[in-house]
Assembly symmetry: C2
Amino acid sequence: MTSKKGENFSEWYSQAVQKGELADYGPIQGTIAFRPYSYEIWEMIQKEFDARIKKLGHKNAYFPLLIPESLLDKEAEHFETFVPEVFWVAYNGNAKLAEKYAVRPTSETIIYYFMSKWIRSWRDLPLLLNQWCNVLRAEIKATKPFIRTSEFLWQEGHTAHATKEEAEKEVFTILSIYKEIVEGLLAVPVIIGKKSEMEKFAGAVYTTTLEAMMPDGKALQCGTSHFLGQNFSKPFEVSFLDKEEKNDFVYTTSWGISTRLLGALIMVHGDDKGLVLPPKVAPIQAVIVPIYYNEQDKKRILGEAEKIKEELGGIRIEMDTREGYTPGWKFNYWELRGVPLRIEIGPKDIENNQVVISKRIDGKKEKVGRSELKQRIKEELENEQEQMFKKARASLDGSITQVRTFDEFKKVLETKMGFIKVSWCASKECEEGIKNETTATCRAIPFGEQVFSDCVYCGKKAIEVAFFAKSY
Amino acid sequence: MTSKKGENFSEWYSQAVQKGELADYGPIQGTIAFRPYSYEIWEMIQKEFDARIKKLGHKNAYFPLLIPESLLDKEAEHFETFVPEVFWVAYNGNAKLAEKYAVRPTSETIIYYFMSKWIRSWRDLPLLLNQWCNVLRAEIKATKPFIRTSEFLWQEGHTAHATKEEAEKEVFTILSIYKEIVEGLLAVPVIIGKKSEMEKFAGAVYTTTLEAMMPDGKALQCGTSHFLGQNFSKPFEVSFLDKEEKNDFVYTTSWGISTRLLGALIMVHGDDKGLVLPPKVAPIQAVIVPIYYNEQDKKRILGEAEKIKEELGGIRIEMDTREGYTPGWKFNYWELRGVPLRIEIGPKDIENNQVVISKRIDGKKEKVGRSELKQRIKEELENEQEQMFKKARASLDGSITQVRTFDEFKKVLETKMGFIKVSWCASKECEEGIKNETTATCRAIPFGEQVFSDCVYCGKKAIEVAFFAKSY
């Protein structure tokens, strides 16, 4: 790592991603390869979320990647928003297609095409579907691995319900699962709330969101859960016969988290030595580095290291027995990759029936007796997870500045950035005014917070609290 | 089901897929939605295969969907073969792209682009990568859900090795895992062997294959594992410094199984009542149907059924408590969906402390005491799995006809079809001759079989045995 996180954040991030072997740039702008080390983290996120939604009755399915233009066009607002970033398939072999096909930027339209065939009566509801897939949105400017790429991986949930109440409940159930995953697994704290009218999903009645704060003072949207009402079910004719034999349109929701979460993880926790991974999603939780300087020591130390590895069953362990590298070089190597714990074992350690464990989070070393090693490592992994979340939580809290006037608002943006907490009137004029003057946008309208001043922008009566920030 | 498997196989298949709620047709020709019931089977195949290759050191990764035309074009034979079925992205929003992007028909080219950056020395080898993803190949004619679609899901393994021997060993290791999955999990027996020169993967040194036989006498390729030698590493410049500091190109392999396996499963095992699923991959292994005709019985029977469900923990159980349907209607419903076992419980069964189990495979019923139920169900699920494989194995074996002359060859195609076992000279002329005259192709050249006649086509000296068949 040649860049420091506090000095050149953007370059630091790029190095952390590439030297940490998480991702590499593809031949087409904005595309990346997810290398095994990042993909494994994504698999852990998938496993956890997948188990949770299946428990609640959701089922996975898979829908076509290609969407005919005429289908995407059925919900006008939705179409207009996505068109500028759609990749269009125009040829099939050497033949020009009669109609262009969109490479899915999101799947509402194609999924409603099928839902309209599958839903007939209240007996078919609720229909709780989820899809793990790739989506494409052409990104030209400010592409950044995981954070903003032309292709990313995500899950998109799409559910249909007989009543408005049930659909809205679903939106919030998912939002709370997202919060548990992002905070509990990735140790990335978030603010939750509703999106403003300008920022909500195109076609939604309302959007709920999770917003994290990055160390450079910019917010990162970490997941969204939308209540779509009947906005899609009407144009796509997804209707059902209720118990009284009356026909009605279903109420739908959609929701997604993506590989963008990997970007949040890196930005929030990394340091000048590279990645720092929360133990719960670290592909390698502890690495054993045997230390020896002659052939005689080598054999017995490798033997002991092998024993330790076996004793630590259930913990994700790697042993670095590579020849031709010094212990110091190996220490750097695994620190760069963010492995939470290093276990060093040398000749003296064997004599003393101990090992040295070194903590990635703060570099502190500790001698641990062999008999208590497994217990100590388990504790320490839990401890690191907790410490990382606490530290990030303090950082998020510290990033929030409450302001009453637009002058204060602008001053915050010129200095520390972060979340700016305001009271506002929620009018389109104020939202546009703030955005045009500062490029900051409304990130979230938190639930149940009391208005504490007049509108920060127009000075008229405020109706709600909102968090503004510049964002990725 | 209104079509019979033995009368109109194609229509029977289409009904089994749609009425069994496995898949539905999309708005673009050759695209389908994988409904939860088929996707769940795919997830089980994924889980099993994924665990096996990870144990051997393979790692999952993810590579871009879009491949620049110039990159796809680097290996000429490969490019020529895939071009007619490539979907090309030509626009990004409203802007025409300077270069077209292929929607991946397979990922060798894009993966070698990255491998050439990641591999420097022998220390980086072997590189054992796998990707679970969607691939697209424009299919115009004879599209069929799962079997031949314009988009399908698969895994594609891509590995790089320092030596030819190691790469070839990989090809066969994977082939044998595929065989275990297809035969052991799906109960679909296969013939394994090499592909002929005309049938091998475009760009491969050789291709190994698994071929199953469908009830209509046509072969279905169920997976392939390719030895690519240095055919790709040279144009893509994937080279490494060996231990003697000499530069050499890596030896690569690639291999894949896809959602086509779901098609094999349906075709091989289904019957006139619909699907028949092998217990190991049946999303529902047993369904409990409570039988009652008045409110008084209802309560105690539902109570007992609930108890049975709990007692059967570890088995994938569903209970059908839907109102307004007769038991007979429910029996048909679950038979159509291929659930291996049905557990019926009515008033008399409670009195006798028993249930009736009914077997999907042969419709036989059996009274089972409650105390032995779990054990009996476990045994019966294993038994059905075994019976299904045996039956399919007998059917495959029975489909093979050994011939010595081309007249016999043609007669077989006019009557029973199936695999035609021949000795042949393996010349391009004979392969083309047979294909042009009969549309049958060489499906596999089995390993270690003795030549038993002169070449079936030209009559000259034969060098190997081959299986020919018409195919999907």
